[in-house]
Subunit: 213 residues, 2 copies
Amino acid sequence: MDSVNMKKPKPAPAYHHGNLRAGLIEAALALLDEAGVEAVTIRAVARRAGVTHAAPANHFRDRKALLTALATGIFAKLAGRIAAKLAAARGGRAARLQVFADAVTGFALAHPHRYRLLWRRDSLDDGDAGLQQAMDAIYDRLVAELSEDGASSVSADSRAVALWSMVHGYVALRLDGNFVALRDARTRAPRQAAIVTALIEGIGGEAKAKRKR
Amino acid sequence: MDSVNMKKPKPAPAYHHGNLRAGLIEAALALLDEAGVEAVTIRAVARRAGVTHAAPANHFRDRKALLTALATGIFAKLAGRIAAKLAAARGGRAARLQVFADAVTGFALAHPHRYRLLWRRDSLDDGDAGLQQAMDAIYDRLVAELSEDGASSVSADSRAVALWSMVHGYVALRLDGNFVALRDARTRAPRQAAIVTALIEGIGGEAKAKRKR
DNA sequence: CCCCTAAATTGACGCCGTCAATATACGGCC
DNA sequence: GGCCGTATATTGACGGCGTCAATTTAGGGG
């Protein structure tokens, strides 16, 4: 047994020209789910992956790059889930819009830290092409759902922005604890569905301007 | 602050039994506007206020407490602006809802870092009574605007949540750079107004009004 | 087989938040 | 005025962070 020039006897899962990048993403995701984006530090991720604190630098320029890669993957997963649910959806447009809203809300409530990361622009490389593309995919899907005609006086584009804004805003406020899960007092539907209904039907303007609908 | 009998010296610009607390808030606000919440560190605030790094500890337990005080003041200012604009507003309910949305959007775009801080729950003392109260004031104002009847099938509460969610979501997405300022293709109104119109009028469900459920 | 290069380690630097010990200045009280 | 208690501010330290530079290690191509 040589003492001086000794090799690491580690059975090592063989990083080093292996899969450290994937291992880091995995560790980062675990930390994110457990304790939020604040806990996803380069050093903590490295510890969890079993490497030293500077090893990640070979795979991610800095912390923002790591979080951006993480967020891009999360966006892709969310987009995939939305697409799958819409593909399986039955019913007319109102029902499809509800499906869209449900998909986003469900994902966000199931993985709050992941959803929050998606919008933590100060922690992400804005301008990252992959990230931008992953985000656009979701919005484009929504515009497609709304592109055909419409009973509103505003354009399909604005209607898409309205729905996407409302869903995102509702989720953001829910995650921040400003709303709790409730049912609508009239329709008994979950509030999350009721507000989509409100957008589809309209909340009414002047009392005199009631419209048949 | 809570001694049995206390006097208001009200004197010199000199700190030390003066107005350091206010000075720290002022310095923090300046840093916030200049470089975002990340830049509002205890030490940077102390430097800007001309004291040493540990002086703020006498006035704020920790960084969260400082940011919470900052956010509470910002919330109060926003609520005041909303109330003022609504008080001066003419027109029916649709117009008033637009005023509300304009007030929030205008504030957020004018002071993006301030608006963002309001929702950085991980940086704030959630559960802080003053903060919660300042937030509720805005929501309550909105519910009041919507409380009387309505042409929608959903309750006033859900309609308030819908509008507040949409406005907040739109602003959040705008601040994140996901939308740019545009005009609606049909109405030529700024998109920010168009989406409120969309909510008031409804975006339409099935092409032929088919009410089920 | 050797060597080149990518990957990982070690160590350092200056930030940060926070705590403990110390110094300072104000206001009440004699 | 002079003392003193106490609120306030300073000094210094600690560990954790991101990041950089220098070094060591491993693995594949010539």
